[in-house]
């Protein structure tokens, strides 16, 4: 931007919306790469083009030198233009056939020679062109270019998903279902192809690339103004760490959710800004404990963090006391055994034999629960089957490894199936939907069963068995322009805000989950809680309820009706009349 006036306007108009970023980052932008495919074509087509030009030159000059005769038999040579015209339609195999006079033998000989020359030239040029289109580096350049363009043109806020494996896929589909846009990178072309085949509502730009390279993340929109968060979900801990690191160094403060299966890597991630680190193995134990002690809270947690359209899952009925049998010798089984012991339950760990034989001890017949966690689906399933046969009442927990075996687990009759990808996906979805939702669900597990059961009743009455929509409303002049004037006059009861815009005597059908005020969260606010300007509400309800509440928030007449029952004239004439009558 050499023009000082342009620089001035740019600073004046554009700069405030952009984040300040260190100057050296411009190195990552690679602006010249924008036309990379064109340069690649030009460079590779040099030789064929020169061959074509030379062939044309030889043919044209030669043809114009060949002696011929005109209609009266006088000597006549084709002019340069006529020869060029003739060679153009002949060499390109159009064969128009228009010539001023019949050719002499010399001219015919030269034309014969030229035709063969031209055919070779064209075959060479077209062959090179087709080879170029098939070329891997060229296709990569084109794909990268398209991806960069698609990311740059994304009109809505989007999340950057690094790693589109099982977890990434679950998260991606769920994000798409709740109407969030995302950009995906994965090192495996098959997964990116799978994304292209996935029936997503919105187009998700995807690229085959290594997320560990900062330039790749930048290409995927890390510096884009509408990039609102990064999800590091690859199955490689080091790669996830690299993503966390790059994000914090390149765009400090951008929310990051990273998955890891190692506590050490998790600690290293925590050194870069404030990433949310999800360790599925760590979380299994937490899941199991919640499922054992607060089955309804667990049921709600699974339900509220699943993609739209999911039905209320069955509630588990775990035994409260008794000994547990953990089968397996994986980090997961060790974690589960430790968590159960911390709960004061007697735990017996059974390692599978060297020949992978399943040898359940006699304690099984009196055990309260069995955890099959050997890191191997066939083995886990055989443990489930044996346990069921020998003790039909035992509570069976199974770790599910490969997605393809899902139907087998469903048929096996395990009471609780834990899948690492799903554990991560549920938590990611909860955290993406609202920063306070996950904490709310954790606290719900501690609040005791009656509270969770009451909430379940309320949600089922308000929203049915389908998972409710969760959304956040900020009671500020920006978030609720119609309500803000009323709130600024004094606090309003929460139940009054949540009345139906059609009939204010009945509630609109939204369940307030969390009230956020001055940074502290109040869970399940009661109806007579007073809301103030600046409060933030996390609500659950049907999509129609969200639209109805939207009118309360944004339309002054609706807001007045909902809060006080008074009908405010909405037209200019009506307002003028009501002013004079007052």
């Amino acid at each position: 931007m050499g023009n000082p006036l342009l620089t001035f306007w740019h600073r004046l108009l554009v700069a405030p919306t952009q984040r300040p970023r260190p100057a050296h980052l411009s190195l990552l932008d690679e602006p010249a790469a924008a036309s990379a495919p064109i340069f690649l074509v030009l460079r590779r087509m040099r030789a064929p083009l020169i061959v074509l030009i030379l062939i044309f030159a030889i043919s044209v000059v030669g043809l114009s030198l060949m002696p011929g005769t005109d209609a009266e038999g006088q000597p006549h040579r084709l002019s340069f233009f006529d020869s060029f015209y003739f060679m153009s339609y002949t060499a390109t195999t159009i064969g128009y056939g228009e010539i001023p006079y019949p050719f002499s033998t010399a001219q015919r000989m030269w034309v014969t020679f030229s035709i063969y020359l031209a055919v070779v030239g064209w075959a060479y040029a077209i062959g090179m062109m087709l080879a170029l289109l098939q070329d891997r580096s060229f296709r990569q350049a084109v794909a990268t270019e398209r991806f960069r363009g698609a990311v740059a043109r994304l009109p809505e806020p989007f999340l950057l998903v690094a790693g589109y494996g099982r977890t990434g896929q679950l998260v991606g589909r769920a994000l798409d279902a709740i109407g969030r846009r995302f950009v995906a990178i994965d090192i495996d072309p098959d997964r990116i192809d799978a994304l292209d085949l996935d029936a997503l509502r919105a187009d998700a730009p995807a690229l085959v690339a290594d997320a560990r390279a900062p330039a790749v993340l930048v290409r995927a929109g890390l510096l884009h103004d509408r990039c609102v968060g990064v999800l590091a979900l690859t199955d490689d801990d080091e790669a996830n760490l690299a993503v966390v690191m790059t994000t914090e160094l390149v765009r400090p403060g951008l929310p990051v959710i990273a998955r890891t299966s190692s506590v050490v890597v998790g600690d290293r991630m925590a050194a870069f800004g404030r990433p949310v680190v999800i360790n599925p193995y760590d979380d299994f134990g937490d899941h199991l404990r919640v499922a054992l002690h607060a089955p309804t809270a667990y049921q709600l947690r699974q339900w509220l963090t699943s993609p739209p359209g999911s039905r209320l899952p069955d509630v588990t009925d775990p035994p409260l006391a008794g000994s547990w049998l953990v089968v397996g010798d994986t980090p997961f089984s060790a974690e589960v055994a430790r968590d159960l012991r911390e709960d004061g339950l007697p735990v017996q760990v059974v390692a599978p034999g060297d020949d992978r034989s399943v040898d359940l001890p006699s304690g099984l017949s009196t055990a309260a629960g069995v955890v099959a966690a050997a890191g191997d689906d066939t083995f886990n399933l055989s443990v489930v089957e044996q346990a069921r046969r020998r003790n039909p009442d035992v509570f069976v927990v199974a770790q599910h490894v490969l997605p393809a075996n899902r139907p087998l687990y469903d048929a096996s009759g395990a009471d609780l199936v834990l899948v690492s990808a799903e554990v991560v996906a549920h938590e990611v979805l909860a955290r993406v939907q609202s920063p306070v939702l996950w904490q709310f669900l954790r606290d719900l597990a501690r609040a005791g069963e009656p509270a969770a059961q009451a909430l379940r009743e309320r949600l089922v009455v308000a929203c049915g068995e389908q998972v409710p929509l969760l959304w956040t409303v900020t009671l500020s002049p920006d978030g609720a322009p119609a309500l803000a004037p009323h709130l600024s006059r004094g606090p309003v009861r929460l139940a009054d805000v949540l009345r139906s815009p059609q009939h204010r005597d009945s509630p609109v059908g939204a369940v307030p989950l969390v009230l956020l005020r001055d940074g502290s969260a109040h869970h399940l606010p009661a109806d007579d809680t007073e809301v103030r300007l600046g409060d933030c509400l996390l609500l659950a309800g049907r999509p129609a309820v969200r639209r109805a509440l939207g009118t309360t928030m944004e339309d002054a007449a609706t807001a007045a009706y909902v809060l006080s029952g008074s009908e405010v004239p909405t037209t200019w004439v009506g307002r003028a009349l009501s002013r004079t009558s007052r």
């Binding site: 010249a32 340069f39 690649l40 030009l42 460079r43 590779r44 087509m45 040099r46 083009l49 020169i50 030009i53 030379l54 044309f56 030159a57 044209v60 000059v61 002019s79 340069f80 233009f81």
Partner: protein, 128 residues
């Protein structure tokens, strides 16, 4: 010695010399301007253009631009000649010849810039 540089320099210089050879002489005298020389200048100029494809440096971009200008001028000159020759049965009037040669002279200027760039590139090239 780099063969690619030799070929590149050869074509750039040859385009300029052929162009100069065609332009030199009384501007309106058709006897002094050989059509074959114009065709040779045009073909060599086209080859030089293609040789400059795909260079992403600033100097490369200016090189390509000068070549494109030269091509455009020479093609215009050739077109004028072909059209004039077809309407007046082969012979070209002094006025038409003048416009053909002046178009080619414009191309010569562009080709000279190309040569200057080539020299600048060579002089600033440092590898000992």
């Amino acid at each position: 010695m780099n063969l690619e540089k030799v070929i590149f320099g050869f074509f750039v210089l040859l385009a300029a010399t052929l162009n100069f050879g065609f332009v030199i002489g009384d501007i309106s005298d058709p006897e002094l301007h050989n059509p074959y020389e114009l065709v040779a200048a045009l073909v060599v100029s086209l080859v030089a253009t293609v040789l400059k494809f795909g260079d992403r440096t600033q100097l490369g971009a200016v090189h390509l631009a000068t070549s494109l200008v030269a091509d455009l001028q020479l093609v215009a000159a050739a077109t004028v000649w072909a059209y004039a020759a077809s309407t007046s049965d082969g012979a070209v009037s002094g006025g038409t010849m003048a416009s053909i040669v002046s178009l080619a002279a414009g191309a010569l200027l562009a080709n000279l810039v190309s040569v200057v760039l080539l020299v600048v590139e060579t002089v600033s090239y440092q590898r000992r």
